[in-house]
């Protein structure tokens, strides 16, 4: 298949449409705006609907509605806008409405937002953190698949480098296997028959046909996320077997760290790298194994220390864990600061190793 030179936002839009996404709603906010623009240009031609909503709250709830009707649907923003969407994301997780949320973030400060969430109730959001544009294309289609497979909202956590870098990519439909039929969808097919369907967070059902109720329903939801946790963990790693130093990083930072560690390895340093691909579920057992021989586990993330919590929970000895990242934002506040740079990462790893 021939490759097109596409900006990340355009590549993700094309990939979402290839995955069957037919509804998109959002409110512009840099660096998410490019995805909304591309969706508005491309989705109608594919027979879909793209709406520039009046707010993020409206965008996510429109998406919830389209998804409840059985369509593959998505919304997005950067972390600042997704903060406004938390209630709807929690509701969708608890009433089992599958859709995709694209967090085209300004930095890595939304790890807690993605993995812990800000809504109420016992829910989790599967979060995919691509390292570059080609992986974002893959993750976009995987996200729709996982959402339908588990009837749950799924987050793709991108960043300005993924949104704005142009790369030669080919976009085709990826096949991740079958997903369950949407026999629950509120598609109007049973209206007026006395068998109308219901999507409800409390699951109390109708007077004529009572549902399981909140206690049973929410326990079933909790069990579902417990079952997803071991099933959907994804990660990449290299040079871990004899590594004295293991460097953990996600997203673009994971790509930068892998680049630097590969170089240090070639120079004879006993360093390895580990990149969680799913942030939730966090690939804890794989990290534990990768860190088995490591005297120190360095965490490079562009925030004040968020993923480091999950690293500490999973390595054999949490006293070996050390943060080498930090908050780093450009003057505009819209993209990474100077820390997202291979020479600086190299220097920080070498300082920690000495």
């Amino acid at each position: 298949m021939s490759r097109e030179l596409l900006e990340g936002s355009a590549a993700i839009a094309e990939s979402a449409i290839a995955a069957g996404c037919r509804f998109f709603a959002g409110y512009p906010m840099s660096p998410f705006t490019g995805l909304l623009e591309n969706m508005s240009q491309r989705l109608p031609a594919a027979g879909g609907v793209c709406i520039n909503a009046e707010s993020e709250i409206e965008g996510v709830n429109m998406t919830l509605g389209a998804a409840a009707a059985g369509f593959r649907a998505a919304t997005g923003s950067c972390g600042q806008g997704i903060a406004l969407m938390q209630e709807a994301i929690a509701e969708a997780a608890l009433n089992e409405t599958p859709f995709v949320v694209f967090n085209m973030a300004r930095s890595q400060q939304d790890y807690f937002q993605c993995t812990r969430g800000g809504g109420w109730g016992d829910y989790r959001t599967i979060t995919l953190a691509p390292a570059d544009v080609p992986e974002a294309v893959e993750h976009t289609q995987l996200a729709f698949h996982l959402a339908d497979k588990h009837r749950a909202p799924v987050i793709v956590y991108g960043d300005p480098l993924i949104a704005q870098t142009r790369v030669g990519v080919s976009i085709g439909r990826r096949d991740f296997g079958p997903v369950p039929a949407k026999d629950w969808a509120l598609d109007g097919s049973t209206s007026g028959t006395g068998r109308s369907k219901q999507v409800w967070t409390w699951a109390m059902g109708k007077a004529t046909e009572p549902g399981p109720g909140p206690d049973k329903h929410w326990r079933a939801i909790a069990d579902k996320f417990d079952a997803i946790e071991p099933l959907e963990q994804r990660h990449e790693q290299e040079h871990c077997a004899d590594a004295e130093t293991l460097v953990v990083a996600f997203g673009s930072a994971g790509k930068f760290v892998a680049y630097v560690v590969d170089e240090l390895r070639a120079e004879g340093h006993k360093v390895g790298w580990f990149r969680p691909v799913t942030l939730w579920p966090f690939p804890g057992p794989a990290l534990e194994a990768a860190a088995a021989s490591a005297r120190r586990v360095l965490v490079f993330e562009l925030n004040a220390g968020q993923m480091v919590d999950d690293v500490r929970l999973n390595v054999p000895d949490r006293r070996r864990v050390q943060r080498i990242g930090g908050v780093s934002i450009s003057e505009s506040g819209l993209t990474y600061g100077e820390l997202m740079d291979a020479p600086i990462i190299r220097q920080r790893i070498l300082e920690a190793v000495r």
């Binding site: 030179l5 870098t165 142009r166």
Partner: protein
């Protein structure tokens, strides 16, 4: 093999368009390309930088290049941080009236081109970026000249199609300025 180019200039010199043209030409030749752009809010006069990586296999390069094989310097302003990242021996095409080549590192292979004068002579002042790109491609052979012209034409919006012949002349004149150099 991956080859990296960093382009540095100021807003209005056509930096972003020349980088996009090269990346698209490489893509149309069936190769892997990556284009990272970095420019401020100001459209004219502010810092404008871009990097292009071209390779025959999936690229390993980072979107923020730790170092680069080659460079195009269109303006002296904002170029210092770029120059530090060019690897020794790398070809550097320089807009000679606006960049003082005497301050550049001695381990670089510098190719001065009076791109402003050439652009005015064969096309217009706005074509300075294409003169530099034509000159750069002459010394690096990154892509074929035909692919460059085709990519330039493809990138023009319909209301600017009339500039395609002038831009093609700018590309050719840039190449002629460095013909036989490398």
């Amino acid at each position: 093999m991956e080859r990296e180019l960093i382009v540095s200039g100021i807003g209005g010199q056509g930096i972003q368009l020349l980088a996009k043209t090269l990346a698209l030409a490489a893509t149309r030749e069936g190769r892997y390309a990556m284009l990272s752009a970095d420019y401020g809010g100001e459209m004219r006069g502010g810092p404008s930088k871009a990097s292009v990586v071209v390779g025959d296999e999936p690229l390993r390069a980072l979107p923020v290049l730790p170092s680069a094989w080659s460079a195009i310097l269109a303006h002296h302003r904002f170029s210092e941080s770029i120059v530090d990242r060019i690897r020794p021996g790398g070809p550097v095409v320089v807009n000679s009236k606006l960049v003082d080549t005497s301050v550049l590192r001695a381990d670089l292979v510098v190719h001065p081109v009076d791109a402003g004068a050439i652009a005015v002579e064969v096309a217009s002042a706005q074509a300075v970026g294409f003169v530099l790109l034509g000159a750069y491609n002459e010394v690096t052979h990154m892509v074929s000249n035909e692919a460059l012209v085709a990519a330039m034409t493809e990138l023009l919006p319909p209301y600017r199609r009339q500039h395609a012949p002038a831009n093609a002349r700018a590309l050719a004149a840039g190449a002629a300025a460095l013909a036989g150099v490398a």
